[in-house]
């Protein structure tokens, strides 16, 4: 699809996502300013607080965003799934530059000026408002500028907690191996960052009183004054937009709660279905959602959450159901060492989920999404490779590219290499899982660890090497459901049972390919699949 075609067909969504992005950033920076400037002022008054507060703000900035979301989701008021959590996280990231520059700006005011102000009988308040803040304004604004640019970038992550924004395109693009989509998110985000930087830079020079006088007299000055007014207006507009969006969200949230309370019973309660941020999870969630809806259960969809945020949200009672893999539950969530017997894994996960989290693990969906060690098809044919053991002698000359997940988990790279006595010439390159397929096809790397159900395996002519030593633990797909939500509606129980054994590995690959390879909408693909089964 060309850029023009894309714009023509997607401009509404692009505009909506951009607006969401701006609203997220404006709300987050607004909050960071509202908290950070007074806090910074306080730190210049209470020297003993300065180090600890700046240290905490500094540490906050180093917390990875997904981890921060994980912490925030269970919290009351600030937590949950959606824009609020994203804004809180963004605001926490934006806090440090605002506080630090406020402190630096105020402390940078000439000693003799401060002394004169005091000696002339200005009160502390007057010194702050008439002397310190105006003189520190350019430095403080520079901090706000940095915070804003950081926020525009970090806000792309907000898509991971279902807060929308341009990150939706980027994640979707990565998942579907679609450069145009990645750019559709990345370019507007970059333009936003540039625009914010330019606008605040203009504001900053305005506040630099030292150059004000010289500026006002000239025509150039008048032109800039006009530009400045536009900047003010657009900043105000951004804040108003942010305010409206959040007012709306708040209203929606309250109304939802009130409705549940008013119903008294749980019959009318929606089941909140979650998906992780990859295609297969989306398809499975949509399959669950449509099955539920077919049985008259109302569904709220919160799709594309990053990392293990779905699990966190279920445990915190924010969401009710999502598709999971037994191997992930067993090692990443329950922290057990990998076991290769599928039955044993399933039974133990089912038991421990019930005991520890009050979560029900439904019957296996019928396929498993195991790690698949992949090489290029032509290479496999040329070297006559069939199993992983066949590939071991060639590994020294190969470059490997693995996802972060595979590199870090217990049943991942380290154990795998040990089990097969596998040694690569160089340390494997760590990259985003969705990028590894493309890297393999483009001969950037020679071996990757993908997913056995990935639609790209067929589309890119990749070959899966058989795990002949049975190293990889099973990753059977299941639906995890909150027990209270399941008990609340009989339709939910029936839907869960209906999905048991409903999908084979081949079917799953095909569905994945429909979405990833043929760029079709998930809901449509799932509908077709359900209709096909009904026949």
């Amino acid at each position: 699809m060309s850029a023009a075609q894309f714009l023509e067909s997607q401009w509404r969504e692009l505009l909506a996502l951009t607006a969401q992005h701006v609203a997220l950033v404006a709300a987050a920076v607004g909050a960071a300013v509202a908290v950070g400037i007074p806090l910074g002022i306080l730190l210049t008054r209470r020297a003993s607080l300065k180090r600890p507060v700046l240290a905490v703000a500094g540490v906050l900035q180093t917390v990875p965003s997904l981890a921060l979301f994980g912490f925030l989701i269970p919290l009351p008021f600030v937590g949950g799934i959606g824009a609020r959590t994203a804004v809180v996280a963004l605001a926490l990231y934006a806090l440090l530059p605002v506080i630090r520059n406020t402190v630096t700006g105020i402390e940078g005011v000439d000693r003799s000026v401060r002394e004169a102000a005091e000696a002339l009988g200005m009160t502390n308040r007057q010194i702050l408002r008439q002397v310190e803040l105006p003189l520190a304004a350019p430095v403080i604004l520079a901090g706000v500028r940095v915070a804003t640019v950081i926020s525009v970038g970090v806000a792309t992550i907000a898509a991971a907690v279902g807060a929308g924004g341009l990150g939706m395109y980027i994640f979707r693009g990565l998942r579907q191996n679609d450069n145009a989509l990645i750019l559709a998110g990345a370019i507007p985000a970059a333009l936003l960052a540039l625009a914010a930087d330019w606008a605040l830079g203009l504001l900053e020079s305005h506040f630099d009183a030292r150059s004000r006088a010289a500026r006002e007299d000239t025509t150039d000055g008048r032109r800039r004054a006009l530009a400045r007014r536009i900047v003010y207006a657009s900043l105000v507009a951004a804040f108003v937009a942010a305010g409206l969006v959040f007012w709306n969200l708040g209203r929606g949230g309250r109304a939802g709660v009130l409705k549940n309370v008013a119903d008294g019973t749980n019959d009318g309660r929606a089941v909140r279905v979650c998906s992780k941020d990859f295609t297969e999870s989306l398809i499975l969630s949509e399959a669950l959602a449509q099955t539920l809806e077919a049985r008259g259960v109302r569904v709220e969809r919160s799709y594309e959450l990053g990392g293990n945020l779905c699990h966190d949200a279920l445990v915190a009672g924010r969401l009710d159901a999502y598709p999971e893999y037994t191997g992930t539950s067993f090692t990443a969530i329950l922290k057990h060492n990998p076991v290769t017997d599928p039955r044993a894994v399933y039974e133990q996960v089912r038991r421990e989920y019930g005991e520890k989290f009050s979560l029900e693990v439904g019957p296996p969906l019928g396929f498993s999404n195991d790690f698949a060690i992949l090489v290029r098809g032509d290479e496999a044919r040329r070297l006559n490779l069939r199993t992983v053991s066949d590939a071991v002698p060639h590994a020294r000359a190969w470059r490997a590219g693995f996802g972060q997940d595979f590199m870090s988990r217990k049943d991942g790279y380290e154990g795998f290499a040990r089990a097969y006595g596998l040694r690569f010439g160089a340390q494997p390159r760590e990259m985003d899982l969705s990028l590894t397929y493309r890297a393999l096809a483009a001969r950037q790397v020679d071996i990757i660890a993908g997913n056995s159900t990935d639609g790209l395996i067929g589309a890119l002519d990749l070959f899966q090497l058989e795990d002949d030593r049975r190293y990889f633990p099973p990753y059977e797909a299941v639906i995890v459901f909150r027990r209270d939500a399941l008990a609340a509606s009989p339709g939910a129980r029936a839907a869960l049972d209906e999905l048991g054994g409903a999908l084979t590995t081949e079917e799953m690959r095909r569905l994945n390919y429909e979405v990833d390879g043929r760029k079709r909408a998930v809901a449509e693909v799932v509908r077709e699949w359900r209709e096909g089964k009904a026949k």
Partner: protein, 277 residues
């Protein structure tokens, strides 16, 4: 604390030890500043003269003894009220860089809530008084002024609300010698007209002798002597002699200077530079 001696500021057994410091930076200070006089605090850096000045307008509070201003202990004064009655001029002027000359000078009147018309009139009057044409200078920013002009604005700002007391902390210290001399002359003339009570801090003995009604010599946190300029020149005190020697004047010139200073803050600007070396 009744005051009958005409003392505007009175130090009684004053000592000051900064918080956390091991020893006093000022001790056993007894001193009166009389109405209308210019008392010069003379001494090298770190001798406690700036500390003494800051005790007057309650920028500091004494740790021993008491400082009274117009008969009232500074601790009983509201700090803001006290400071608005004591104009303050510091080295490099300390002008607000984001205010015009006019707003700088109008600061205290504005804080005091004067009507704008009266404030504007006062600013014009003061700028004229310190030798700056209001039409040319009122709208300028401090960075658009020379060092001497900035210092003049500093003086005008200190005088704006007509405070009875002026505190000056090395006001001419950062200026080049020619500008300094001319500002000193003008200050002397101004002082003669306005008859403010002034406390003037300097480490320049020539400046002290030219401008002071009395000179208070300080060393290492102690007051050594308080003398009129001519008696200072003939003092037998070791430190006073040491300062005198820095003038490096031949005996006749010294006598001439003594005669000159005995006329106190003189009637006309005089140039003593010609006498030096």
């Amino acid at each position: 604390m009744t005051d009958n001696s005409g003392a505007v500021v009175k130090f009684s057994g004053v000592g000051y030890r900064p918080p956390g410091a091991p020893s006093h930076v000022l001790a056993g200070l007894d001193l009166e500043v009389r109405r209308g006089e210019t008392l010069v605090l003379l001494g090298e850096s770190g001798c406690g003269k700036t500390t003494t000045l800051r005790l007057v307008n309650r920028m500091l509070v004494p740790t021993d003894g008491a400082v009274t201003v117009e008969g009232r202990d500074t601790r009983e004064w509201d700090a803001v009220r006290l400071r608005r009655r004591a104009g303050y001029v510091i080295q490099e002027a300390g002008l607000f860089p984001h205010f015009t000359v006019e707003r700088n000078v109008a600061l205290v009147p504005a804080l005091e809530g004067w009507p704008p018309e009266r404030t504007r009139e006062r600013v014009r009057e003061l700028l004229t008084l310190v030798g700056l044409d209001p039409g040319r200078f009122a709208a300028r920013f401090p960075r658009e002024l020379s060092g001497g002009q900035r210092q003049r604005v500093g003086v005008a700002r200190a005088l704006a609300a007509d405070p009875p007391l002026l505190l000056l902390d090395e006001p001419f210290g950062a200026l080049d010698p020619l500008t300094r001399a001319s500002l000193q002359r003008e200050f002397a003339a101004l002082q003669k007209r306005l008859a403010k009570t002034c406390i003037f801090v300097t480490h320049d003995v020539r400046e002290a002798l030219t401008l002071g009604t009395r000179v208070a010599l300080m060393h290492a946190g102690r007051l050594l002597l308080v003398e009129t300029p001519e008696r200072f020149l003939s003092s037998t005190d070791e430190r006073a002699r040491a300062y005198r020697e820095t003038l490096r004047l031949p005996a006749p010139a010294l006598a001439a200077l003594a005669a000159e200073t005995s006329a106190a803050t003189g009637d006309a600007p005089r140039d003593v530079r010609g006498d030096a070396t």
